[in-house]
C-alpha cells in the first residue's frame, strides 16, 4: 500500500470530544497508523451535542485518498444523517460506506486494518467483526 492510497476513516459521534478521542485512541493503539487518514466529525457545527452533515462531508473529503472512505457512527441521528447523505449521491466521496460496527472497537479494528494495507472491504469486515467480541 502506498501511503496516498489508504482507506480513509471518518468517526461520527454526537460529541466532538468523543469523536476526537476515539480517533486518537484508534491511531494510538495501532502503532504505525500515522499514514491512515482518520478524521473525527463530532457534535454540531456550533459545538453542541448532535450531528452535523457539514462536518461529516468535510471529514470524508479530507480523508479521501481514492481508496474509499469507511464511516463509523455512534447513535441515532449520526446513523440517519450518514445514510441520508449517502442517499443524496453527491455529498460524500465515491466509495464512501457506512460501516456497521461498534464505535470504539470498530474504529480501532478499522484503523489497524487500513494501516496494514487493507482495502475498503477488509476494513469494513474487520470493523464489523468487532461485534462478535463478547466481553462476558
Amino acid at each position: 500500500m502506498s501511503e496516498d492510497r489508504a482507506v480513509g476513516i471518518v468517526l461520527v459521534s454526537h460529541s466532538a470530544e468523543v469523536a476526537a478521542s476515539v480517533a486518537a485512541l484508534a491511531k494510538g493503539l495501532s502503532g504505525g497508523a500515522a499514514a491512515v487518514p482518520v478524521a473525527p466529525a463530532g457534535g454540531t457545527g456550533d459545538g453542541g451535542l448532535g450531528t452535523s452533515a457539514e462536518l461529516i462531508a468535510a471529514a470524508a473529503a479530507s480523508v479521501d485518498r481514492g481508496a474509499g472512505v469507511a464511516v463509523l457512527t455512534d447513535l441515532g441521528s449520526a446513523v440517519l444523517t450518514v445514510k441520508a447523505l449517502l442517499a443524496e449521491g453527491d455529498e460524500l466521496p465515491d466509495g464512501t460506506r457506512l460501516v456497521d460496527a461498534p464505535f470504539v472497537e470498530g474504529a480501532v479494528a478499522a484503523v489497524v486494518t487500513a494501516a496494514a494495507g487493507g482495502d475498503l472491504d477488509a476494513v469494513e469486515a474487520a470493523a464489523a467483526e468487532a461485534y462478535a467480541y463478547r466481553k462476558v
Binding site: 452535523s52 441515532g76 441521528s77
Partner: protein, 202 residues
Amino acid sequence: MLDADFFRRWMTATAASVDREAERLTALDSAIGDADHGSNLQRGFTAVTAVLEKEAPQTPGAVLTLAGRQLISTVGGASGPLYGTLLRRTGKALGDAAEVGTERLAEALRAGVDGVMTLGGAAPGDKTMIDALVPAVDALATGFAAARAAAEEGAQATTPLQARKGRASYLGERSIGHQDPGATSSALLIAALADTAEADGE
C-alpha cells in the same frame, strides 16, 4: 393545481407552526427523548424559509428537494435526516412539473413516507412520525381536511404505544402514556399543508 408558490407557502406555514408549537414539541420530547425536538425543528425550518427566499426554486419538486436538503444539513438531530428525506423523496417524485394536482401530491408523499420508513426502519405502530404520516397520506385522496384530521388522530393514537425506534425505545414500557413528539410535528406539517390549501380555496 398546486404550483411552486403553493409549496413555498406550505413550508413557510410549517415554519410558523413549528415556531408556535416549539415549546410543546420540546415538552413532549423531554418526557421520552432528549428535549430538543422543538428547537431542532425550529432551527431547521427557519433555515428552510431563508433558503427558499434566497434561491426561489421554480417548481414544486425543486421547492421540496431544496427544503429537505436544508433540513438534513441544519437540524443536528434525527428529525433532520428523517424530515429531510421525507421532503426530498416527495420532491423527487414530483419531478419537474410546474404544477401538480392533489392525486399526484398524494402519490409523491407516499414515496416520501416510504423513504422515511426505509431510512429509519420504522413501521406503523412503532410510535414514530410514521403513525401520523401514513394515515394522512391514505386520507389525502379524500381531501386536505381529511388528511389533517387523520394525521392528528394518528399522532394522538401514539400515546398508549410503546416506542420501538429511536431514543424513546430505550425507555421500554415507560414510553407508554406519552404522545410521540415526531408524530406530533408530522401532524403540524400536514395541518400546515391543509391550511395552505384551504387558504387557496383548494
